[in-house]
Symmetry: C2
Subunit: 267 residues, 2 copies
């Protein structure tokens, strides 16, 4: 048993969708979250810049007492690829958990993947799914504006702008007849109603943040690293930009008011 | 006379609208441009983070032989405010040139200002215009999605998404009956047709990038710092992210293919 915290990071606040699930399925664990809000978005940047930022995020988390690292960011996960530890600390991104879940869910062997330009360009989800379930047909499309629409609150189910953009991005995926769609960016579950309204109820959506949390539970359990505490765990949030606007945006991703301390990582 | 280069910087490539004008009105000047493409957008960040980034951008330019610095970025200009030199090097943002031009253009004394959230929150354009032309009524509205729409190529005059978003952002400004509109971000001239189609031909649009270039010419001339060269000047471009995607996006802002060398500022 290990009472150290689980470290979670993302380019911004999308990774809070993983924290939300962790709080639900591992209520006694402490969480340390880092959101790189001074440099979001990662998804429109080059591979090398994403890697550099991810390494700095991991370095920041490792200054704390952590027993596992979760990259709750589709872009980072795609660029880093399939690794299971960082210098001996168990690690997961969203790539393996979400791909596994999609392979289990599909019946017709046709899986769609949407993500940031960097995620889709990396081809990581496609390669992973095809390796896990040979013969699967994968249809991928980048959705560069989704992150910005979510960050700017264009999330209402009836929002005309987001519906129009969703239609444009999802049309080729829908036409391909997928029965499963990986939301390859932790921002996308926030607009899942709009995505479902277009794709139809019969398409299973895979929430990458939630899947990474479930995978982390399994991983910590297998390694006997779950917390021995019987008290409710504590969330601690760090952001690289000002903490001022954190609360309003965080509520969107957490689904409730923030409980926990919020700090800026800048000295 | 001074044959050093004019240094121009922006959060990304929007500042190339200033370079375009500089090349036109000062064809013999050398330009050194820095676009912080690894950290764009600035407009959604806090004041302190914008200031920190701007100082680092200026520090980068000052490693070269430059005789003037232009912050061709509405967000940086608004946050830095009205300063005319940096350690003795002549400086201009877009704030003073664009405000002056708007005050000269208005007939009914009603001026609109659109910009990033950080620009509008700073109140700098409003204060400057009101000080320059007392009695002017100023109507400001933030347009957080415009930068992302432009960066992602949603710039065609008939683009449904951009037209819808423009309508939402511009409605209160149009209702206020302005006859002059400051495009307070160097990305916005790229969608000026869409803005004009909504606002009407009788509203004068102020292009901040172009105004800052004209102001720089006047400033260099007054200080006797114009180039003595009779040869065509050279453009040198630096970006903080990969140079790979520079050409395609730069063409949007320059209005023609890039002529000049392109380097990454990352070692």
């Amino acid at each position: 048993m290990d009472n150290n915290a689980i470290g979670v990071f993302d380019s911004g606040l999308g990774g809070l969708t993983a924290v939300r699930e962790l709080n639900k399925i591992l209520p006694n664990e402490n969480i340390i979250y880092f959101g790189d809000t001074a440099r979001i978005p990662y998804g429109s940047r080059s591979r090398n810049t994403v890697l550099r930022y991810a390494n700095e995020d991991i370095e920041f988390l490792r200054k704390h007492d952590i027993k596992m690292i979760i990259a709750a960011c589709g872009t980072v996960s795609s660029v880093i690829g399939d690794i299971s530890d960082i210098d001996g600390i168990p690690f997961t991104g969203v790539l393996i958990p979400a791909s596994r879940s999609a392979c289990n869910a599909t019946k017709n062997g046709r899986i769609g993947i949407i993500g940031t330009p960097a995620t889709i360009r990396s081809g990581s989800f496609k390669k992973t799914v095809e390796a896990m379930r040979p013969g699967t047909q994968v249809f991928a499309n980048p959705c560069p504006l989704f992150v910005h629409l979510v960050e700017n609150g264009y999330i209402d189910r009836q929002n005309k702008v987001t519906k129009l953009v969703a239609e444009e991005y999802l049309e080729p995926i829908k036409k391909a007849g997928v029965d499963t769609l990986i939301l390859g960016c932790t921002h996308y579950p926030i607009i899942k109603e709009i995505i479902t309204d277009y794709m139809g109820d019969n398409v299973t959506l895979i929430d990458t943040g939630a899947e990474s949390a479930k995978y982390a539970k399994k991983c910590l359990s297998e390694k006997n690293l779950l917390s021995g505490s019987t008290e409710k765990g504590k969330n601690t949030f760090y952001v690289s930009d000002s903490t001022e606007l954190f609360g309003d945006t965080a509520r969107i991703f957490l689904g409730h008011d923030v409980s926990g301390d919020v700090f800026s990582s800048i000295k």
